[in-house]
């Protein structure tokens, strides 16, 4: 019999019952909740007269709607200027207070983007099943966990039953061997993967990221990669547990301690695919061939190395694809054949659950240190992913570097990743963004997003257009 994949192991460990019709009941260990996708679930629970099954499995924080300017943030929930956002954050507070759910409230130092605070606090651990009403929940898979986004009805279902009705996905291995070149980051790796397999390439699969590149990658880098598994169509992405994982988890607030730590580690060391495990689909990339990436269109798969030029739809044989390209170029205001480096940048956003951890802050600071933002760049904001990232960055003096270079240093939240708060693009503006989605209107109505790594975004802020960070100084 063939060995098991990491996903097989996680699935089997959480199987409550297998039904005849192929569906299964899966037990959920950790449920993370934020203000946007939960109000209707709590309301549904209340209307049905149900109580949460296990309150101690839930942790909540507001992130999508919270303002990131110091002034607006100073007076907490009451200070949120947009009344509808304020109600949504208040509603989360009320629901958590009423049910006794642990919540890192707006100005709690532990508050932050759901996918940043989970691993950081130790609320998300290896071997867990983790869900959240947010597609980027795939992030936590970097810990060697089965973690995926769910809709609001499922949020209610997990609250009420601690389980999900699910069907096992296929096993897919994305193997990247070799060594990354200097200046090439985890973000470039995952963008290159999406460029290769497409935004639907992982649909129906749980992706395991394996190979030299991921073994050598830091935990924060792995979180960045798994974060964007959903952009490749996979609900879940994951990386096997190794020493890097254990070193990262050890000592975190909610990580097991003492004998329980040893007990946990013994189990966690099994969290890798067996040598003879069989995957339904395998994709291999050469890590040493990956260059810094920039997206040019309205889908993350519309991505090119920095040395590339905007493609010509006329060269595309597939009609549906060709129309998509033409529409994207029109929306993005780009001309076929135009070098990527000629695209001028109006705003820069360094943040989001993809790239707002301490290593991202350091990478961006290293590029802008001693330099000045281009005058043509209207605004460049740096938004740490959590209160803890912010405190750490400030302890290292990174905020001084950003401020001296003319960048802004903000309070933690989702911010311009999806522009539900006041941070957004104006129509027609190009943004070098470290977020994960370049969909039309994502960062503001008519806004033009280019997804890049923190170092590439920082370099664009200084140069005023995209540049190859490997040769930039």
């Amino acid at each position: 019999m063939a060995g098991k994949t990491l996903y097989d192991k996680l699935w089997q460990a959480h199987l409550v019952s297998q039904r005849d019709d192929g569906s299964a009941l899966i037990y959920i260990d950790r449920h993370i909740v934020h203000e946007v996708t939960s109000p209707q679930a709590f309301e549904g629970l209340r209307l049905a007269g149900r109580k949460p099954w296990r309150v101690d499995s839930v942790v909540a924080t507001p992130d999508h709607n919270v303002p990131t300017t110091h002034n607006e943030r100073a007076s907490g929930v009451a200070g949120i200027e947009d009344p509808i956002s304020r109600i949504q954050v208040q509603t989360l507070d009320e629901n958590c207070d009423e049910l006794g759910i642990l919540e890192f409230k707006i100005n709690d130092p532990r508050q932050g983007i759901v996918h940043v605070i989970g691993p950081e606090s130790g609320a998300c651990l290896p071997g867990m099943t983790i869900v959240c009403g947010d597609s980027h929940t795939s992030t936590n898979g970097a810990l060697g966990a089965l973690s995926f986004g769910i809709g609001t009805s499922e949020v209610e279902h997990v609250l009420a039953t601690q389980c999900l009705v699910a069907k096992k996905m296929g096993n897919m291995l994305v193997k990247v061997d070799g060594t990354l070149g200097a200046g090439v980051t985890p973000k470039d790796v995952v963008l290159a993967i999406i460029g290769t397999i497409g935004t639907a390439g992982g649909t129906g699969y749980a992706i395991e990221f394996g190979g030299d590149v991921f073994r050598a990658m830091s935990m924060e880098g792995r979180l960045t990669v798994c974060n964007m598994a959903i952009e490749a169509g996979a609900r879940a992405g994951m990386v096997a547990v190794d020493e890097t994982t254990l070193d990262y988890v050890r000592g975190r607030d909610y990580a097991p301690k003492a004998e329980q730590w040893d007990m946990a580690v013994a189990q966690w060391r099994q969290l890798h695919s067996d040598a003879d495990a069989v995957f339904d689909r395998v994709v291999e990339l050469d890590g040493s061939a990956i260059a810094p990436q920039v997206t040019w269109g309205n889908s993350p798969e519309m991505v090119l190395p920095i040395s590339g030029s905007v493609p010509d739809p006329a060269q595309e044989a597939d009609v549906v694809k060709q129309t998509g390209m033409t529409r994207a170029l029109q929306y993005m205001g780009l001309t076929p054949g135009q070098p990527i480096t000629s695209i001028r940048v109006d705003r820069v956003f360094i943040g989001s659950c993809t790239n707002s951890r301490i290593e991202d802050m350091r990478a961006a600071a290293a590029v802008v240190q001693g330099k000045t933002k281009a005058a043509s760049v209207k605004e460049a904001i740096v938004v740490p992913g959590s209160g803890q990232v912010k405190a750490q960055a400030e302890a290292e003096g990174l905020h001084h570097i950003f401020l001296a270079a003319g960048l802004e240093w903000r309070e933690p939240g989702c911010s311009m990743c999806l522009a539900m708060n006041a941070d957004r693009l104006e129509a027609g503006e190009h943004c070098a963004s470290t977020s994960n989605r370049n969909f039309e209107g994502r960062q503001g109505y008519g806004g033009r997003t280019h997804l890049v790594s923190p170092a590439m975004a920082a370099a664009a802020a200084i140069a005023g257009h995209f540049v190859d960070v490997r040769t930039f100084n």
Partner: protein, 216 residues
């Protein structure tokens, strides 16, 4: 939940691939704490010429005359015909809520993003997968023939075209069962409460660090 058995209705085109949930319902509308009210803002950025904000009177906004769903021939449509990877992007259930409130009970496409696909079933909507050439054929026919309508019979798992041709489709047995009967699946899961408790008791012993979290 509304049940879904047989649906006969006008079909309308959404002729682009990778339609994402931001396009189906832009994020500024996700600030609502209610489950309804999203219909008038379905496809907001394509549908209107100006920028939508929550609380605006949508009936006063300028419609985009080039957006097919605004054409008179597609008014009242209940079946949306789309291309590959429909519903990709965020997990927002507001997307199926918006489509359902707009009047769609069924979306036909060659493929769907997983979370969107799942979310549809929770809201009495059927996401229906047909092979790409069959969908392409439906697009051609619906463009050619005004008033083109389809019948979707979930029990028999067939789509019936105006010319009587039937196309079979696959659907998960459990999801079909819930949809046909309009079952609330929380209620169904709770029928297995004993099994969940047994599993949980074992897990408390094998992974004690996963319990008692909020009390730390």
């Amino acid at each position: 939940m509304k049940s879904f058995t047989v649906l006969t209705g006008l079909a309308a085109p959404m002729d682009r691939s990778n339609v994402d949930t931001d396009l189906i319902i832009p994020k500024q509308f996700l600030k609502s704490i209610n489950r309804s009210g999203f219909g008038p803002n379905a496809f907001d950025e394509l549908r209107y010429l100006d920028k939508g904000e929550p609380g605006r009177d949508n009936s006063q906004r300028p419609l985009n005359p080039e957006f097919p769903l605004n054409f008179s021939r597609y008014q009242g449509a209940s079946i949306l015909v789309a291309r590959e990877n429909f519903g990709c992007g965020s997990s927002r259930e507001h997307a199926p809520w918006a489509l359902e409130e707009y009047g769609f009970r069924c979306v036909i496409a060659p493929s769907f993003a997983d979370i969107f696909y799942n979310n549809c079933f929770k809201n009495g909507m059927l996401p229906l997968v047909l092979e790409e050439p069959l969908v392409a054929q439906i697009f051609a026919e619906l463009y050619a023939q005004e008033g083109y309508s389809l019948t979707v019979d979930l029990e028999r798992q067939v789509v019936i075209k105006p010319n009587g041709e039937t196309l079979a489709f696959e659907v998960d047995a459990f999801r079909k069962h819930c949809l046909l009967n309009g079952f609330d699946d929380i209620g169904l899961t709770l029928q297995d409460a004993e099994q969940i408790k047994t599993y949980e008791a074992e897990r408390r012993l094998s992974t004690p660090w996963l319990f008692g979290f909020a009390q730390h």
